[in-house]
Symmetry: D2
Subunit: 373 residues, 4 copies
Amino acid sequence: MSFNTFGHMFRFTSFGESHGAAIGCVVDGCPPRIPLQAADIQKYLDKRRPGQSRFTTQRQEPDTVKILSGVFFDEASGQQVTTGTPIMLQIDNVDQRSKDYSAIKDKYRPGHAGYVYDVKYGLHDYRGGGRASARETAARVAAGGIARKIVPGLSVRGALVQMGPHQIDRTRWDWNEVDNNPFFCPDPVQAKFFEDYLDGVRKAGSSCGAVIEVVAEGVPAGLGAPVYAKLDGDLAAALMGINAVKGVEIGDGFGVAALSGEDNADEMRMGNDNKPVFLSNHAGGILGGISSGQPVVARFAVKPTSSILTPRKTVDRYGRDTDISTKGRHDPCVGIRAVPIGEAMVACVLADHYLMHRGQVGEGTAWPFKPGA
Amino acid sequence: MSFNTFGHMFRFTSFGESHGAAIGCVVDGCPPRIPLQAADIQKYLDKRRPGQSRFTTQRQEPDTVKILSGVFFDEASGQQVTTGTPIMLQIDNVDQRSKDYSAIKDKYRPGHAGYVYDVKYGLHDYRGGGRASARETAARVAAGGIARKIVPGLSVRGALVQMGPHQIDRTRWDWNEVDNNPFFCPDPVQAKFFEDYLDGVRKAGSSCGAVIEVVAEGVPAGLGAPVYAKLDGDLAAALMGINAVKGVEIGDGFGVAALSGEDNADEMRMGNDNKPVFLSNHAGGILGGISSGQPVVARFAVKPTSSILTPRKTVDRYGRDTDISTKGRHDPCVGIRAVPIGEAMVACVLADHYLMHRGQVGEGTAWPFKPGA
Amino acid sequence: MSFNTFGHMFRFTSFGESHGAAIGCVVDGCPPRIPLQAADIQKYLDKRRPGQSRFTTQRQEPDTVKILSGVFFDEASGQQVTTGTPIMLQIDNVDQRSKDYSAIKDKYRPGHAGYVYDVKYGLHDYRGGGRASARETAARVAAGGIARKIVPGLSVRGALVQMGPHQIDRTRWDWNEVDNNPFFCPDPVQAKFFEDYLDGVRKAGSSCGAVIEVVAEGVPAGLGAPVYAKLDGDLAAALMGINAVKGVEIGDGFGVAALSGEDNADEMRMGNDNKPVFLSNHAGGILGGISSGQPVVARFAVKPTSSILTPRKTVDRYGRDTDISTKGRHDPCVGIRAVPIGEAMVACVLADHYLMHRGQVGEGTAWPFKPGA
Amino acid sequence: MSFNTFGHMFRFTSFGESHGAAIGCVVDGCPPRIPLQAADIQKYLDKRRPGQSRFTTQRQEPDTVKILSGVFFDEASGQQVTTGTPIMLQIDNVDQRSKDYSAIKDKYRPGHAGYVYDVKYGLHDYRGGGRASARETAARVAAGGIARKIVPGLSVRGALVQMGPHQIDRTRWDWNEVDNNPFFCPDPVQAKFFEDYLDGVRKAGSSCGAVIEVVAEGVPAGLGAPVYAKLDGDLAAALMGINAVKGVEIGDGFGVAALSGEDNADEMRMGNDNKPVFLSNHAGGILGGISSGQPVVARFAVKPTSSILTPRKTVDRYGRDTDISTKGRHDPCVGIRAVPIGEAMVACVLADHYLMHRGQVGEGTAWPFKPGA
């Protein structure tokens, strides 16, 4: 990863600003002969797309993705497939309202990147957050749509597990509920409560944070490259790099500090198919930076949207004290739309490590070993 | 970062196993003409060195670092300096007791990397954890000793803020206390309590987790490269990649989820030296992946040592159910020695981004801007 | 460099096939506040553009470049500048005639990449060479248009110095002549001869090779990173990676083998501005992988176009012997259009190393040193 | 590749100066379970080792390599194998005579890197060329010893094909002769002549250049990653980056310029084992940056050693005109010892691309395709 390029072998380079002509990414290193249509990607973009409920920004972006390169009709399979060359994914920006920003263009919104961009670069595109806008995450979701097709049998699902100070009840977790409410919440009771809660936040012109959990199942054991490209290290970078994220956990996360060694041990027993069964998953599926074959479990915390109605003290780009409040269109809880983004990043990290592992080790080893051997 | 190489511009490649001949790293991309003696590095290694109190492993490793390349006597300054070429740092292993491991060499210790290394690579060096041993972190601390010299005015300090379920009282935080107890704990009252607590854990043959906080002061505003080499993304990778770490936070971390947008806003006012003053630091010094000039604050959670006396269920490399308990020499709380390691990783990330920023932007910009300009 | 991404710090990732919707690249790592209009890039694309004389392919591509991101209006300077974020450069494909290829789609043209793409990827986009087409080089030329603006005072010029077996007379070298003939030839006499020569080749349905020389003036001393990112190593990769190139030389190139150490020595004397003057430039401006301040001189050989009328023996993708001759529209001497491509690659390598050097060393050193210091 | 790290997936990071304590490299990304003893590497180092005939420097370096990490005893195969973790290869420097250099430490030797290192870094280790010394190439040869074991069935052999202005007669090429003379020359007649020729050069205190050819057989078709990590691009970088190299060719190299398209075409016919047979190999085994299955043929030109007895005009580090002649111990023709170095670099590039290809594409495709499929 460097600058605007993600990944070691499954790589994508993203581009675009919130109010520019288009955003997108070039996906490189993708294996050839993977069936790929725009619709395979579009379905994930549709999950992230703004304007789908009163709980997200009312900006109307169809987020229609175009595949401009890297696919071709394969006579052998009779369908469009990847060719192994760069796949260009482009999404036009449609519903920019840049004049919303002219009133505040010289003022820094606390919590936004305007000040640091100005200090670093000497200017910044202030329209809708420019490059620092969460709109860039559409490129990640698009890349994730391809990544999901690379690891055979992989399933990556995300859910909102906390909104503001309110956590879900994990005993009610039902993956089927995630698509039945506008919050990607697996607890139907709490989801109902979140409606009222977030309506209150929204009407007050305020905002709240959230915690998202992503679970990847079907991850083969052995993915991860010691010691500076560990699977958990790369997941942490990928998730912390999502806009507004301030914390990342794997497995029990910060909870491990309070556990004893005895309680934290994920004991093992042999299962039926010559693979071990772990009796618990405190580790979140990763040991020593390498996947264990258990579900990979990651969580991340999203801060409350910085754009709020209540005036805040700030300075402007000319070094003058002032106040600011944000009108525009914004998400009261950006954590909601972070669910498909977190899923995409986890899928990309896993695809990347799947290819790296195959490169270094090939088809892998036959475990368990034979005692005489 | 890739495989065993850390960093974009300030890079180091580490090598070595716990019971091999030596461990160390090659530091590359370091600026020239930085005064450097082995003693500059040794002082940080001495903080991480085992066997210094009854609360860490009794393995006696002097951890003496040798600089085998990349330095030369500079006539202009009359001292040994870096030359801009690779700096080889080597630390001999001295006190291996590999036979401690022969009894358990075929069994996987729950929480250790033995199983995943075997599945990934088809074998692993079981002596003392091999490559997955925390002994590798000596290489990081050594590299960090150089990294600290690169960003002018930078100070990076770490502290243990939680042991087992017991947090410190932040109102008693005193950096001067960190070196007055064997835990790097800034709260002298709680440090006293930790002695008794950890003695109990140790005598029971058990272990406990910890939370470490690292604070970097003097970080210039503007470090960080959107969007896949953000400063917080790289910090998250660097800290999550430390052995036994399961969670990373920047600033308020997971606490941000429960904050309102109003409370989370770090308001700004102009200070005296043409720089803004932030009225709080919920962001932990990083906005949009770029440093804001405030102290960079990171926290990470370390799981309890997996090596415990109480037998745990496991399997062996031949796929047979068995039990295991670990005798050997181990830290009851590896979180303690993680303090200098966390400091080193934060220093390395900051040095790396300092050079990347200088490469792309040069000497930077003059903020605040002139209104007429 | 990896897969489809060029560069360490000044990086670009290219995408697109000859007959796809568009080609282009995402330029990343570019310094901010560099004035940039599409026209700054267009002028170099216009040099490479096909269909400008009877000596290049008659495919009519306007090669109009669009800048889709990474630029913004700078109030301070009153013009559009780079922002430091990714610059997306897109060129639509207009004049594809894919049906030209249907007759030969299953047959491999000797010298083309069709066979190796099929073996590697299991399929390939056969239309116009797909990803292996020299059409991809438009992306390089576009990126080069930005690269040229990064190193202050840099001038990069290329010239065709050999066509088929016919070399130019270097005593007649006149840079002003390069734009006065369709061959970028600095020798006006030989350029005249080339017209007749190439007409003959073209009318015979044959093709010929060429040698191109690129000279970069104003290269600061000190660029290049030992030992696996040497300036000459990166130039060699960049030039050898241009389609149809089979050889690269720096300075005297293969001629050095026949020189004695005495004759090869570029002797030095102090010049007027506290810089040394070299009395010759056998080294081509690079010593030990680092620029010396002399002009950087690189040459590369381009093979004759593989698409010829005379039937050649080949096989098809089903493993059957057959013959092939190519009709379509092709350059009789691809070396001609390689001139602006070679210039672009040299400019990109120099910009990349300029930023890397600035990152590692900063504003550099004051040579000559003071004896007392 | 970046700074002192070679490679994408098969990577090595080298360190060390000519007169420092040691040189060596850390090899990373190597597949596990490859049998590896120091002797496997030593045999290639012995080919490069100085002081073996009167035609190379009389510096006596045993160049004994130690493997400090990354190998372990494998119970399954009963031998020492690679573990998949970093392999540290270290070679102690033994026969430094640093005082040889004190007389000339302030003067730049024309053709050496002293001046550019001083300008770039502000100082340099002048003893024996420091980091710019060809002594660093021992690290490459050591890494190459491992690389040779990665691609199944690969053979990489090099030969000196020109010394000074004198080329070999290719009709007398006999690989068996390469080890029968001190020049790695495959033409026994010319080798005899080279003895007298080089004796004359040596006695005159002069030096001469050379051209080396490296041929890799058993290279699978399909290696190479378009378009900025092409196989030929990476070979060019790897060979041009060897000390004193000024030109690189693949296949017919610069000779292609003079060929017609008809003559340059490597025609194809189906062979016996479902693979095509090429009727010639002008392409040197690489098409479109991807290996074709033919032998990969690369050539590179080595300049005459810069250290000569005849005084040359130069300047010193304080900007004063002066003269210099070099006494010390030097190779009259460094091209000789470049043969095993060139072999090593070619082996490393091929190993690297073998792993990259396996990562992206897996076990590859079944060519030829079935017509009905």
